[in-house]
Amino acid sequence: MPDTPQVSPDPPDTVYHPMTGAEGSIIEIERFNLWYGDKQALFDNSIDIQMGLVTALIGPSGCGKSTLLRSLNRMNDLIDGLRLGGAIRLDGADIYHRDIDVIGLRKRMGMVFQKPNPFPMSIADNVTYPIKVDGVRDRRVLQETVERALKAAALWEEVKDRLRDSALGLSGGQQQRLCIARAIAADPDVLLMDEPCSALDPLATAKIEDLIDELRGRYTIVIVTHNMQQAARVSDNTAFMYLGRIVEYGKTKTVFTTPRSRRTEDYVTGRFG
C-alpha cells in the first residue's frame, strides 16, 4: 500500500446539511483522496454515512461516484497504480489499515452492481453463495436463508417454485432483485448499490425502488445513481459530486428543492449534466 500522500491544504468547500440517523453514522469518510496512477479521481471527500438511512451519490458521468462507492468495500484494490489518501472508517476502524481483513470487510458490505450479475447457478445457489463461502453447510440454515433473503428482496413469490432453475432464466429485473437477495443473504451492515437500475426497464426499476424503500432502516444503503428522480424518490441524504469533489451533502429534499450550492442547483435543474 502506498504511503499516505500529503492532503492538499485547501479546505474542502463542501456544503453540509445532512439528515442524522437515530443511531449516528456508520461510515465516516474523511478527506479521502484517490489517484489512478497520476490522475487524481477523488479530492478531499468527507462525508458521514448515517446508519439505517439511504444515501444517494449523484453527479454527472465520470464525477467519481462509483469510485467512491467501490472504495467503501475496497473493490478498487485490484486496480493498478491505485494510491489513496485520507481515511474511511467503518464503525470507527480504518478500512485501509494494514491489519484489516478485506474479505471480512466485504462480508459486512453487500454489493449490487450496475448490470445484474447472477452466477450461472441455480437461484437458490446464488442466494446461498455468500454464506457457503463462509463455510455454512447446514441444509436447514441454507434453506432458511434462501427464503428470508428472497422474501426480503420481494422475489420469493415469483421464484419459490423454481429455486433449482438456472438464475440466468430470470428477467433482468428479477435478476437484479436476486442480486439484492444475494447481497443481503449474509446479513451485511451496509448495502452498496452501483446504479442498480441503469440496465432495467421502468417497471423493474419501480420494483427495485419499492424494495429499497422496504429495506430502509434494516440496512444502511449507499446508492449511486445517475437518475435524479430516483435519488429524490428513494434516498434520505444525497451527495452531489462533481469532478471528484463532493459539492453538497445534505437532506435529499433540500438538495433537490433548495440546493445551497450553485453547482448543485445547476445540475438538479438540468442546466448541465
Binding site: 500500500m1 468495500n73 473493490m75 493498478d80 476502524a93 489499515h97 494494514r98 491489519d99 484489516i100 481483513d101 474479505i103 471480512g104 466485504r106 462480508k107 459486512r108 458490505m109 453487500g110 454489493m111 452492481f113 448490470k115 450479475n117 447472477p118 452466477f119 450461472p120 447457478m121 453463495y129 455468500p130 457457503k132 463461502v133 463462509d134 463455510g135 455454512v136 453447510r137 447446514d138 440466468l168 442480486c179 444475494r182 447481497a183 449474509a186 452498496l192
Partner: protein, 888 residues
C-alpha cells in the same frame, strides 16, 4: 460469403450509361448516385472467390488424405480373385503319382509317377517339355516323403531301402543377346528350347527356368524284409555337409529315426554318408498308419493312425526318445483323411471323414499331464463344406493351405485368419485326384488326376493373413499358450508369422495419453487458474508467453532428453520421485498455512515477488527433502529395494496401497469435515483475531493431515489383508524406458496447449461475475473454485481434450522414451508402443504395398479417427460453452 456480390452489383448500370437515363421523365429530380467504386467491387469479388476456392481446397485436401488412407487399407480386407483357369491332359497318364511340383513363377511343373516316369511341362499351357524316366530299381516304392519346399525327396521301398532325390528349379536371368535362337513360343510370353522355359520379364530381360532331378544311390535303413510303410523327412545343413533326418514306420509298426550325415570332400569330390539308426519306443497297439510327420528341427515325431489317434514322440534327447503322448484328434468312428504340418511345422492340420478340419498346436503348459509337459491342443476349426477334406498342400510362404474336398472342390485358406482365399469347383471326381500343390507364392494351385488331367488355377490374394478379426480381435498364434492381442511384425526366422493386432498399439497410445494427462492436467489447469486469477496482470503478461514458448520445444528434443537424461535419473531416484508426489503438495500446503501466520501488514507487503520466491523456495526445499529422504523412504516402504519389491520378491502390499489411497483419503476427510465439522471453522470477521485464526486453521489442517494418513494406513492394511495388491496391475516390473518417464515428457509437451486454452477460457469469464463473488466476501480462491472454474468448465474440458488429442498423436517422445514394447499392461513402470511410434519406426522397413505397409496405413487411419473424435468432442463442447457464455 455467397451473397457478397451484392444485388447492387448486378443492377449496376454500365459505367458509360448516363445516370439521367435511368431517372425517367425530364421533370424528375435527379436521383442521387452513390455507388461503390468498380475496383472495390472487383477486389471484393476476387477476395470472395480466392477465399472460397482456398477453403474448398483445404476440405478437399483433408478428404483426399482420408480417401487415400482408406484406399490404401481396403485391400487388407479383400479376399482372393481368380486370374486364370487352365485345364489340360498330360500325354502320359500319371497313374500312381509320387510327386508334383511347380516353380516359383508358375512356368514349369513336373509330375513323377511311381514307375519313375518324370514329365516336365509348361504350367500354363500343359505342353510337355521333357519326359524321362528315373531308375527307381526293382523294388516297388512303398512310401515317399519330401521337405515342405519339395526340393528334397525320399522314397522308401519294399526292400527296406531309401533313396534320396534332389529336385530343383533353376532360374537364370538372361539379357536379350544371350537368348538362344529358334525358340518355340508357348503362349503367355513364354518360349522354350525344348528343355527350359524363357519368359520375358520387365527391364528387357529374360528368365530361364529349368528343372533337374537327381536320384541318389539306395541306402539301407532297416531290415531288408520289411517294407517301409510311411516316412517323414527333414533336411538341414548345406549341400556339402547335409544332415537328413528320416522317420520310418515299417510294416510291423516299428518306428525308427534315421539320421544320415553326408560329407563331401572338397579335394577329391568323394562323398561319404554315415547312417545312424535309432529305434524308437514301440507304439502301444498295432495301428493302421495314416501318416508320419517330423518337425523341421526333428525334435517331434507324429505318427497318425487312420482312426484319428496321434502318437507323439519327443526326440529332444536322442539318447532317450520317449513316446510322450497319445492323443485323439478325431471323434470316435470318424477317420482321418488329411494330416500335415503348416509352414514352420508348429501347427498341425487334421481333417476327418466327418468333414472336420482343425488346427492343432503343440503347447507346453504346466497343467498338462504328459511326460514332457507338452500337449497337442486344438486351436481352431474351419468350416468345411460338410464333406471330408482329402488333399492338403501347405504354402511355403505363410500359413495358407490348399485342400480338395469330397465334391472335388478346391479351396485355399489361411490357417490363422481363416480367410478363404480361393474356392474353385473343379467338377472332377475326388477319386481321380492324385496330387495337389500350392504355388510357392500362394498365387496358384495345381491338382493332378490319375488319368493325366491337370487343373491349374491362378489367383491373387494380396493379404491372406489379415481380416478384421486378426487386426482387432484376439488371435491364437502358434506357439502361444492362449489367444491374445499380439503385435510382432518381424522376426529372425523365415517361417515366422507376422502378428498384426492393432489393439496393443491403440492401448499403448491411450496408456501414454492417460498417464501424461494424469501428470499434465492438474499442473496445467492449476497453472491457468493461478495466472488468470491470482497473478498481477503484468506478471501474467510474462508467464503466458513463456508457457506458450514451451510448446515450441521440438518434441524430438523432449524425447531424447526424456530417454537419455530423465529415464536414468528416474531409475536411480525412483523412491525419491514417488515420495515427491506426496512431498511436494504437502510442502506447498504447509507453506500456505504458515503464510497465514504472518501478520496481515507483512503479508500484504510481501505478496508480490517475495511470495512467489517463497513458493519456489518451498518447492525446492521439498525436492531436496524428498531426495534426502528417498533411501529412508525406500527402506521403510519397500524393504530397501523398490525394484525387488515391484517384482514381488520382498515386502508387502500395504505400503504402496497407502500411497495410492492418500489422495482419496485426503478428499474423503475434507468432504467429511465440510459436512459435519463446518462449525469448527470460525466465521472470519475482523482484523485483530487473524493470528489465532490462522493458528487454528494450521492446527486443523495438521489434524486433517494426520487423520488422512491414519485413514489411508488403516484402509491399506485392510485391503492388503483382503488380498489386494497393486503389483501386477497398476505397478509391476520396472523397465528403464517406462510410462512414468513418458508421462513426464509428454506431460511437459501438452502442458502448454492445455494451459493456454484453459487460461483463455478462464479469462473469458466475465469480470462482473468475479466482482459479484468478491463483493460477496469470497476469497480469490473461492471465487476461482466456485465461480470462475464452473463457468469456464467446458472451455477447460475442451482444453483437456485437445491436449489429449495431441498426446494420442504425439510421436517422437513415445518413440524414444516408451521402450516400444507392444504389451497390454497398465503397469506404469513398464513400456508401451503407441500407434504413432509404430508408424514412425516400422514404415521405413515395410515393403511398399505389402501387408505391413497397409496395416501401418490402417494404423494411421485409426490414429486419424481417434484424434478426430477427440478433437470433435472438444470442439462441440467449446461451441456449447461459447453459446452459454453469450448469455452471461
Amino acid at each position: 460469403m455467397k451473397d457478397t456480390p451484392s444485388p447492387a452489383t448486378s443492377q449496376l448500370p454500365p459505367a458509360d450509361a448516363p445516370p439521367a437515363a435511368a431517372a425517367g421523365g425530364p421533370a424528375a429530380r435527379r436521383p442521387r448516385e452513390k455507388r461503390a467504386r468498380r475496383t472495390v467491387l472487383l477486389a471484393d469479388r476476387i477476395a470472395d472467390r480466392v477465399i472460397t476456392v482456398g477453403g474448398i481446397l483445404v476440405i478437399v485436401a483433408v478428404l483426399g488424405i482420408l480417401v487415400f488412407l482408406v484406399t490404401e487399407t481396403l485391400p487388407l480386407f479383400r479376399s482372393g480373385q481368380m486370374t486364370g483357369e487352365r485345364r489340360y491332359t498330360l500325354p502320359e497318364p500319371a497313374g500312381q503319382t509320387l510327386g508334383l511340383g511347380l516353380d516359383e513363377y508358375k512356368t514349369l511343373a513336373y509330375a513323377l509317377s511311381a514307375d519313375g516316369r518324370l514329365q516336365v511341362f509348361h504350367a500354363r499351357s500343359g505342353r510337355l517339355l521333357t519326359s524321362g524316366r528315373l531308375d527307381l530299381g526293382s523294388a516297388p516304392v512303398t512310401a515317399q516323403a519330401h521337405t515342405i519346399d519339395r526340393t528334397q525327396w525320399a522314397f522308401g521301398f519294399a526292400d527296406g531301402t531309401v533313396r534320396f532325390a534332389d529336385a530343383r528349379f533353376e532360374t537364370t536371368i538372361l539379357s536379350p543377346q544371350d537368348l538362344p535362337t529358334g525358340l518355340t513360343p508357348l503362349g503367355d510370353g513364354d518360349a522354350t528350347d525344348g528343355h527350359a522355359v524363357f519368359s520375358a520379364i520387365p527391364g528387357d530381360q529374360y528368365r530361364q527356368v529349368t528343372f533337374r532331378m537327381e536320384l541318389e544311390a539306395p541306402v539301407a535303413v532297416g531290415d531288408a524284409q520289411r517294407a517301409i510303410a510311411a516316412m517323414a523327412y527333414t533336411a538341414s545343413g548345406q549341400a556339402e555337409r547335409s544332415v537328413r533326418t528320416l522317420a520310418t514306420v515299417d510294416g510291423d509298426d516299428r518306428v525308427a529315426l534315421i539320421q544320415t550325415a553326408s560329407r563331401t570332400n572338397l579335394m577329391t569330390g568323394e562323398r561319404r554318408t554315415t547312417v545312424n539308426r535309432i529305434q524308437l519306443p514301440p507304439l502301444p497297439a498295432p495301428i493302421e498308419v495314416f501318416g508320419v510327420r517330423l518337425t523341421a528341427k526333428a525334435d517331434t515325431l507324429l505318427v497318425a493312425d487312420r482312426s484319428g489317434a496321434v502318437f507323439r514322440y519327443n526326440l529332444t534327447d536322442l539318447q532317450h526318445p520317449v513316446l510322450a503322448e497319445s492323443a485323439r484328434v478325431m471323434p470316435p468312428r470318424a477317420r482321418l483323411t488329411a494330416f500335415d504340418f503348416l509352414l514352420g511345422s508348429r501347427s498341425l492340420l487334421v481333417a476327418g471323414s466327418n468333414g472336420a478340419l482343425a488346427l492343432y498346436f503343440l503347447l507346453e503348459r504346466n497343467d498338462f499331464r504328459t511326460v514332457d509337459g507338452q500337449s497337442l491342443v486344438q486351436a481352431r476349426t474351419f468350416t468345411a463344406g460338410g464333406t471330408a477334406v482329402h488333399f492338403f498342400a501347405p504354402s511355403l510362404r505363410d500359413k495358407s493351405f490348399a485342400t480338395i474336398d469330397g465334391t472335388g472342390r478346391l479351396e485355399v485358406r489361411h490357417g490363422t485368419s481363416r480367410k478363404q482365399l480361393a474356392d474353385f469347383p473343379t467338377g472332377l471326381p475326388l477319386e481321380g485326384f492324385r496330387e495337389l500343390v500350392l504355388a510357392p507364392r500362394v498365387d496358384g494351385v495345381m491338382a493332378l488326376q490319375a488319368d493325366g488331367r491337370v487343373v491349374f488355377y491362378e489367383f491373387d490374394v494380396p493379404h491372406p493373413e489379415t481380416t478384421f478379426a486378426t487386426l482387432f480381435q484376439k488371435v491364437w498364434y502358434e506357439g502361444y499358450a492362449e489367444p491374445g492381442y499380439t503385435w510382432q511384425s518381424s522376426a529372425a526366422t523365415d517361417d515366422y508369422e507376422a502378428k498384426l493386432s492393432l489393439v496393443p498399439l491403440i492401448f499403448g497410445s491411450f496408456k501414454a495419453a492417460f498417464y501424461s494427462m494424469l501428470f499434465a492436467v492438474p499442473i496445467a489447469i492449476l497453472g491457468a487458474v493461478y495466472t488468470s486469477e491470482f497473478v498481477h496482470r503484468r506478471l501474467r503478461g510474462v508467464i503466458k508467453p513463456t508457457m506458450e514458448m514451451m510448446a515450441s520445444l521440438p518434441s524430438v528434443v523432449l524425447g531424447f532428453v526424456a530417454a537419455l537424461v530423465l529415464a536414468p535419473v528416474v531409475e536411480t531416484w525412483i523412491a525419491a520421485v514417488l515420495l515427491a508426489f506426496v512431498g511436494l503438495p504437502l510442502a506447498l500446503m504447509l507453506g500456505a498455512y504458515l503464510w497465514q501466520l504472518l501478520p496481515l501488514h507483512l503479508a500484504n507487503r510481501l505478496k508480490g515477488i517475495p511470495k512467489f520466491a517463497l513458493m519456489l523456495l518451498s518447492v525446492l526445499l521439498a525436492a531436496w527433502a524428498t531426495r534426502a529422504l528417498g533411501p529412508f523412504f525406500e527402506e521403510l516402504f519397500f524393504h530397501g529395494d523398490f525394484r525387488a519389491w515391484l517384482n514381488g520378491d520382498v515386502g508387502g502390499a500395504a505400503p504402496f496401497l497407502f500411497l495410492l489411497l492418500l489422495p482419496l483419503c485426503a478428499l474423503a476427510v475434507s468432504i467429511l469435515q465440510q459436512r459435519f465439522l463446518a462449525g469448527l471453522r470460525q466465521r472470519p470477521a475482523g482484523g485483530l483475531e487473524a493470528l489465532p485464526r490462522a493458528l487454528g486453521e494450521l492446527g486443523l489442517w495438521l489434524l486433517r493431515a494426520a487423520l488422512t494418513f491414519l485413514l489411508a494406513a488403516g484402509l491399506a492394511h485392510l485391503l492388503a489383508a483382503l488380498g489386494a495388491d497393486a503389483r501386477g496391475g497398476l505397478v509391476g516390473t520396472y523397465v528403464q524406458r517406462n510410462t512414468l518417464v513418458v508421462g513426464f515428457a509428454m506431460g511437459f509437451a501438452v502442458i502448454p496447449i492445455i494451459y493456454t486454452i484453459a487460461e483463455d477460457a478462464l479469462n473469458a469469464v466475465p469480470e462482473h461475475l468475479r466482482a459479484a463473488s468478491l463483493g460477496c466476501g469470497a476469497t480469490l480462491w473461492q471465487t476461482a473454485l466456485y465461480v470462475v472454474l464452473p463457468t469456464a468448465a467446458s472451455g477447460v474440458f475442451s482444453a483437456v481434450m485437445i491436449g489429449m488429442g495431441r498426446a494420442v498423436g504425439e510421436t517422437m517422445i513415445v518413440v524414444m522414451a516408451a521402450g516400444n514394447t507392444p504389451i497390454l499392461d497398465w503397469n506404469i513402470f513398464n513400456g508401451l508402443r503407441a500407434l504413432s511410434a509404430t508408424i514412425a519406426v516400422e514404415l521405413p522397413e515395410a515393403v511398399k504395398d505389402g501387408t505391413l505397409y497397409r496395416v501401418l496405413f490402417l494404423a494411421g487411419l485409426v490414429l486419424f479417427a481417434m484424434t478426430f473424435v477427440i478433437n470433435t468432442v472438444a470442439e462441440i463442447v467449446r461451441q456449447r460453452f461459447r453459446r452459454r457464455a453469450t448469455q452471461l
